[in-house]
């Protein structure tokens, strides 16, 4: 079964896998998480605002993003981003967009919907008295949100946000459909070049497994530490 298992191919391709592939995957995960949280928090505030058009718009956006597969969204944005860029920069041609930018936009926009729901739950978990107290102290809406509600909501939701980040980390493997050299893409390219599918895919699975398991273990530890004692 493992008699002609070639460990050497894994060792030889380690620099390519990690330097080219994993760097892409981790950078994409980190930036998409940051963008997703910022954009998602804005969406959550829109959804919870008293202004009907804003909350309907945000709810529609979130529901749209959550009813379509990520793969379809990756394709959508791969073709849409050049046109969006053209529109934003008012140029006469659709602009050229690299694979990294395209997938970063996709993941930010897509994950924002999921981060929105997490932040919404976080904001809703804050007792209403906090908002009233802030208003009684003369704070306006932006100050209340920025200094009173969001810091607490964020702290309450840190474990869930990080869990979503682990899911995002696994989901970035789907950029494979655009033939991008992320970690899985790199493994797949070597696998197909050398005809070593078994070794490369098993190794890729092992690496994803180890990282996700370690990360979720850390999240559990963190969860115990940051929990606010009430």
């Amino acid at each position: 079964m493992f008699s002609n298992f070639d460990f050497d191919i894994i060792v030889r391709s380690l620099p390519y896998l990690f330097y080219d592939g994993m760097t892409f995957t981790l950078t994409l995960t980190a930036l998409a998480t940051l963008g997703g949280i910022v954009f998602g928090t804005a969406l959550a505030l829109m959804r919870l605002s008293g202004l009907a058009p804003l909350s309907i718009l945000a709810a529609g956006y979130v529901n749209l993003m959550r009813s379509v597969p990520l793969v379809l969204m990756i394709f959508w944005f791969y073709f849409l981003v050049p046109y969006l860029g053209q529109w934003l920069t008012a140029s006469s041609q659709p602009i050229r967009v690299g694979p990294f930018t395209s997938s970063l936009v996709t993941f930010m926009v897509f994950e924002a919907a999921y981060f929105c729901e997490i932040m919404r739950a976080g904001i809703q978990s804050i007792p209403r008295g906090q908002v009233w107290a802030a208003q009684a102290l003369g704070m306006r809406y932006p100050t209340t949100m920025l200094y009173i509600v969001l810091p607490q909501a964020f702290r309450n939701m840190v474990p869930v946000l990080l869990t979503q980040t682990i899911i995002l980390f696994q989901d970035t493997s789907l950029v494979y459909v655009l033939s991008i050299t992320d970690f899985l893409g790199a493994a797949s390219k070597i696998a197909q070049r050398d005809g070593r599918l078994v070794e490369m895919y098993l190794f890729a699975a092992l690496v994803y497994f180890a990282i996700s398991l370690f990360a979720s273990h850390c999240v559990r530890l963190l969860q115990r530490r940051v929990a606010i004692v009430r």
Binding site: V71, Y83, Y208
Partner: protein, 249 residues
């Protein structure tokens, strides 16, 4: 935008020479739904089994269940698909491996198995959560009445647990439908793959993806609506605020 819109494209004959593009999309929808349903049956069966053994009083069974869930949850679905499709036939005895590779619709069976096991880990989490949310007196009372452990699960714990976890199970079902799109990487011609090939042959990118998006939204609405009705019907009376509405996750 200098994009050439052509919504009439859906009624043109696709390169397979017998169907219009719209028909190819609908065929893709049928594959998406078939894959999702088959995978869901598998996921529900194995998920329930693993969820149950994680709540039994046998430590080693619990450990096996936990390991199962961690294994299938911490590897990306795409990688799992590749493992089932490319790696498994190489690791089994040669004859069996060749048979697997030559199977007609191999990508469909692989997609069902991969998606089924991937989702079963999530279902197991939900089922376990449902069982542990029950008051421990229910299990004790069942055992005190002389039911065996399997009987206690069959007649007391599981009927309650399923009713409680129906809303999260609905989101998992919606996830299975969406995740079936990943199977396009192993060549399953489901909805997203059909939209992609329509885009490649006709160059009408945005029409193809718009149509696929609308079909996914329609499926989502139908499933959510049907499950809301079921949830209301089976909601356990006396629990706080009934079950929260199902949301896709």
């Amino acid at each position: 935008m200098n994009y050439h819109w052509n919504w009439g494209i859906f009624w043109q004959i696709s390169p397979d020479a017998s169907h219009t593009y719209l028909q190819t999309l609908l065929l893709g929808t049928a594959w998406t739904l078939t894959t999702a349903f088959a995978a869901w049956v598998l996921a529900l069966t194995f998920g329930s089994l693993v969820g149950v053994i994680r709540t039994t009083p046998h430590p080693w069974l619990v450990r096996v269940g936990n390991a199962y869930v961690e294994l299938f949850r911490n590897v990306p679905l795409l990688v799992q698909m590749f493992l089932w499709y490319f790696v498994l036939p190489e690791l089994v005895p040669r004859g069996f491996g060749t048979w697997l590779k030559q199977l007609p619709d191999a990508s469909f069976y692989t997609a069902v198995v991969a998606l089924g096991f991937y989702t079963s880990a999530r279902v197991a989490e939900q089922v376990r959560a449902g069982i542990t949310s029950l008051a421990s007196g229910q299990r004790l009372a069942a055992l005190a009445l002389g039911l065996t452990l399997p009987q206690a699960y069959r007649y007391v714990l599981l009927p309650m647990a399923y009713r409680i976890v129906l809303p999260p199970l609905t989101s998992e079902f919606l996830n299975v439908i969406k995740n079936s799109a990943v199977a396009l990487t192993i060549g399953l011609m489901e909805l997203t793959a059909r939209a992609r090939s329509m885009q490649e042959f006709s160059f009408q990118v945005f029409e193809a993806f718009t149509a696929a998006t609308f079909i996914y939204i329609a499926i989502n609405i139908v499933v959510t609506f049907a499950m809301r009705r079921t949830e209301r019907r089976v909601a356990v009376p006396g629990y706080i605020g009934m079950a929260p509405p199902a949301t896709a996750e």
